[in-house]
């Protein structure tokens, strides 16, 4: 499951994420990171089941971190997609495949939000949430 973590500026100098990784023993993967004077945001992938995820979210919140679950990573406007395939092989994790009839299938779990496909789409039907 992917989470967006928002740190207030007062919390940005504490290694909260590192502490969580050590505490829970889970390899949390950082997909995006932005640190600004007023706040910091991270998008992370937490490879656990739903029950465990709830505990981890609660632990982050207890540290003063705002947590949002990212339900859908990318959205494909299939109505306007031509099924050309320009987004498929550039995807570094193989999250986008073409089915037997060449239509596009996207696997949210494999997506690392690198946005390569967003730029690679010639008709601009992929957007990132």
């Amino acid at each position: 499951m992917k989470l967006r973590l928002t740190y207030r500026h007062t919390e940005t100098n504490r290694p909260i994420l590192a502490s969580m990784i050590i505490k829970w023993g889970i390899p949390i993967n950082i997909l995006e990171a932005q640190v600004k004077p007023e706040l910091g945001t991270l998008v992370v992938d937490v490879p656990v089941d739903n029950r465990k995820l709830k505990e981890i979210i609660a632990a982050f919140e207890a540290e003063g971190v705002k947590v949002q679950e990212i339900i859908s990573t990318l959205s494909f406007d299939m109505e306007n997609c031509t099924s050309c395939g320009a987004c498929v092989s550039p995807c570094p994790t193989g999250a986008i495949i073409q089915k037997q009839d060449w239509t596009i299938e996207f696997d949210d779990k494999k997506c690392i939000r690198c946005k390569v496909c967003v730029d690679a789409c010639p008709v601009r039907v992929i957007s990132i949430s």
């Binding site: 092989s89 550039p90 073409q98 060449w102 010639p122 008709v123």
Partner: protein, 356 residues
Amino acid sequence: MSADEFSRYTKDHGVSVAAKEVDVVTTGTFGAMCSSGAFLNFGHSEPPIKMLHCLLNDVPAYRGLAAVDAYIGATAMSERLGFEYGGGHVIEDLVSHREIQLRGDAYGTDCYPRKSIETTITIDDLNQAILLNPRNGYERYNAATNGTDKAIYTYMGTLLPRYGNVTFSGAGELSPLYKDKDFETIGIGTRIFLGGGIGYIVGEGTQHFPQQQFATVMVHGDLKQMTSKYLRGATFYKYGTTLYVGLGIPIPIVNQRVAESAALSDDQIMTNILDYGVPSRTRPVIRKVSYGELKSGKVAINDKDVRTSPLSSFKYAKEIAQTLKDWIQENRFSITKAVELIPNHREFRPLEIRKS
């Protein structure tokens, strides 16, 4: 039959039998074709103008023609939006009957006194809107990969570093020009499927190079009866704008040789994977590959499986071949005999830079 059906049918029944039973094989392709554009005639304003410059939704159209004729090319880019909007998008918007802003200026003459114009137009306001594409339908195309350490962004799409992926274009066994590769039926005046409507082959296309199976055709048709589904404005990241064109050519099976050409399957149509990381007109060949392998989703490069994906839509290519087949069966489309066939041989010259 559509070309993919014919190809399979010949495998089961043999080419000779198939050639006797099948009259016409239909083909289709839907890919980015940069050498595309449209001639537009706006009609005369009051007082009239002979435009020096002409912008359509901020995209410059070629104006070295009579007073209110212009040519909007697919790769011309918006002066305001750059790579995100270009001539290809203007053509898509025209076909979609969307309103387009027209701006022009002039130096003014005694016969054309007006010096500037600003208005909106739709395709329905135009006297003529004629799609005329100097180079479409490449018989086959090189596949692309990238041997450098950096991702590159090309007209072949995004190429990941260290042979990270392979992209390719051309419809393989559905590719119109490969299905009559010796040009025994395709020529000037051949009626075709173009952009969802009916068009015609004007003649050989620019850079026509049939000896190496890089034949091309110049095509034209009335834009007013085409559809935006089969004419899509597009952007290749860090490259520029273009137009995806839907093209389908019917191949009448006039003899055994044409039947053999039309029967070629993806496994028999070969191309080269080139390293687009080398910024030269002669890029190194990494390996030879069939369209069958390319369409399988992966090919081996240096003993490693590399993911492949097309840039042209096989879904649409199949739809085009099927549509053309339906039109012929419903007597909505009749096959024409070419006035003159496409040449079988052409020199392919580079541009040498001479020291003055």
